[in-house]
Symmetry: C2
Subunit: 497 residues, 2 copies
Amino acid sequence: MSQPVEQSAMREIPPKDDDLSAWYTAVCLKAELVSYAPVRGCVVLRPYGYALWERLQAVLDRRFKETGHQNAYFPLLIPESLLTRESEHIAGFAPEVAWVTHGGGEQLPERLAIRPTSEVIIGTMYAQWIESYRDLPVLINQWVSVMRWEKATRPFLRTLEFLWQEGHTAHATEAEAREEAERMLAIYREVAEQVVGAPVVVGEKSASERFAGAVHTYSLEALMPDGKALQVATSHELGQNFSRAYDITFADIDRTVKHVWTTSWGMSWRMLGAMIMLHGDDRGLRLPPELAPIEVLIVPITRGDQPDVIAEAHRLGALLREAGRRIKVDDRDEKRPGFKFSDGEMRGIPLRIELGARDIADGVAVVVRRDRERSDHDAKQAVPIDDVVDVTARLLRDIQENLLRQARERLERMTIRWPGIREHSSLERERFLTACRERAGLLEIPWCDVASCEAEVKATTGATTRNCVPLLPEDLASCCVVCDRPARVRARFAQSY
Amino acid sequence: MSQPVEQSAMREIPPKDDDLSAWYTAVCLKAELVSYAPVRGCVVLRPYGYALWERLQAVLDRRFKETGHQNAYFPLLIPESLLTRESEHIAGFAPEVAWVTHGGGEQLPERLAIRPTSEVIIGTMYAQWIESYRDLPVLINQWVSVMRWEKATRPFLRTLEFLWQEGHTAHATEAEAREEAERMLAIYREVAEQVVGAPVVVGEKSASERFAGAVHTYSLEALMPDGKALQVATSHELGQNFSRAYDITFADIDRTVKHVWTTSWGMSWRMLGAMIMLHGDDRGLRLPPELAPIEVLIVPITRGDQPDVIAEAHRLGALLREAGRRIKVDDRDEKRPGFKFSDGEMRGIPLRIELGARDIADGVAVVVRRDRERSDHDAKQAVPIDDVVDVTARLLRDIQENLLRQARERLERMTIRWPGIREHSSLERERFLTACRERAGLLEIPWCDVASCEAEVKATTGATTRNCVPLLPEDLASCCVVCDRPARVRARFAQSY
């Protein structure tokens, strides 16, 4: 049923391996996830892209609520005087802020920042709301857009405005705040791996990569096929930095007045960017079934007018829908099957069911997996109509696991771990710096945790620490692979998006 | 079980009948729906308020999707040059726009407006996306905040920033666009009445009250207890005004190129303001069960340490939760039952279940309706534990209906309809103008539909047309109650929020 002309019209995307960046942008546009907006650096999230975001939202939101969090909404605009109260925070964000200076036809007495993040406005409210230990913990999340005035932009990965969620919590003890930051990190990891199919490495940011104003920042980093890392979520222990700056105090059970400990954590639509890059291929997106707005595309194969075939396709669709599947029957009469196949592949729909008059006569439907190459022996199978519901459920589970497995295998392949070294070796140093330069992948070394060392790597190779984990027992007494100071942690270096 | 001291601490709200405005603000704050933000004219939607908004969102979103609409996200910022292309539209919104002039540490080459509404940016994208009649209709909605620089502000009713949804559709024919505008109006009406319990009058806006750039604007108006109307939703037929200004064309089936017909429609959190004012009483909110974040509050009545009573309260809670109810067991040991009763009443929780050791011994629970006065004979009833699930379901349905009925009766009482008059009567004119001045309610008169007549009423009484419906058969040859021109429509006049 190939329709070469129409197919090639759908296929105007460059091969992924030749130019990941061009491939990525083309897929985002061709699959109708986004359009460029008539505002520099902003994109429109189109219905198909938004449906992906809605599913990711639902998955996260359910987990947030199960762990006792509530949603709220805090204002978009933050007065400059308020924003500048936590000095590290404003130093970190000031260069990226968009300022409102006029409203209602008049110049405003004070500039208002469009939220780049909401610690400041939320902290100010917590100071009003929290009185006693009985009011704690406060566990609030909001789903909003934020604005950061960036230079370069790319859909999902870096745009002036982006959609995200930001959780902000306040606790009576440091231990509780730490537990919260770790709990959210675990939720993010589970969603990244089990739902998005994106394997990640989790660890703590070095001081220079830390969130402005945080005591500890933890991140999830995914590795893209070009060897660049992508930070897909962060969770921050803010200690008492914000509670001191914004005067968030409580009367503890012992009646003494203390500052609360706060956390914040966020995941943005960037996670969708990771999903696209990790799983997509030369035919377009490959969506993990858990996130796919449409799990099964049913294409009736008709020659001329065959209402029976269309009707049977809809009957099968109804059966699958009843079984809880998200399905679409593509019964457009102006498009030929080959076009619909390519269209469904570009959009990454995990399963396609082809149904023609001959199939119906034989009592079967042809089920095609999007995660397989066309030439794979099990890409396509004839399934008895009565078994379609069960087979579909099984294949979707299988595709979900397969996408994660494939991505995990690549991550493993592209992770290079240096063992501990007792003495400084200029050979290992050069090997490491070359790997950084060549974007060989995620490069894990025993590291000194000194900012100047990191800065040197960055200046000479473009790579930075993505995050760090404790040294392994066998690393004891190792020195840093880059300089000759003692190693303090294992750091993952990579160039990054 | 009355706890006078604690109760009165909860009760610091002025009586509703004495000062609706002070009552309203106090309830919004005391029920923890909102807090004032440290930004002029903005509020924070707190978790309890946001939970109400989430339920309203879910109810609307389901109906939007059932009628073929999809969600998307369009940028917050709109370049000035784009905004000014539809001249009526910008004339209407320019005075209320907030402008971003600086970003990334630099002055921007062009000012960017924070969206006051999104016809312009969405229209611009539709022009790119739509090519042929096969692409139509385009049915898109977005859930966002918008910004309008207002002078006076009041939670939910009028704030600089507010949450809403805005639907934007494009159609191949005028008839289809009209049908869409009417379909959404019907959905709004059903949600207002059946879910929020807010009876509304539906009609068309006069020319002077029309949305800037629309051909027809339809509105839902609710009447507040002080005789002022509140517009709770609008639906606009935009004709080809925006498609001409933003060049949204399509190749029709006959291959001619035409401009599309567009609509837009929106409901904001203002609907929650209507809900608060319509149903609330001197004890606080009264929430319609369909919207209530918590439908049933269970209060264990304990004297000292009675773990059995607490356990039984949780068992009953689990039973109700299993039956699909949204419940909360208030087992805080530091608060006495009387405080919890008042707290639940302030928050408008539709049903309260009181459960003490004696009740448990008798095999009953005491169920208390929030929609009844305390003195009403059926406010409180002892229900056998085994029947609680069923009785609760029945009472919640009854409360939902009762709130609508009460509000509808008041609307009827406060609606004054003038019959058609053959000759101008200065007596009727004065009666009407006095009613306008005195905020007697919704004042429906045969009206000339002339802007200068409306302007005169507004200047002398403060009332405006809320919306209009066709004349009744018996109005034929009636003249306008205000001036002596022939009547063209029946108009509802009122002062408004």
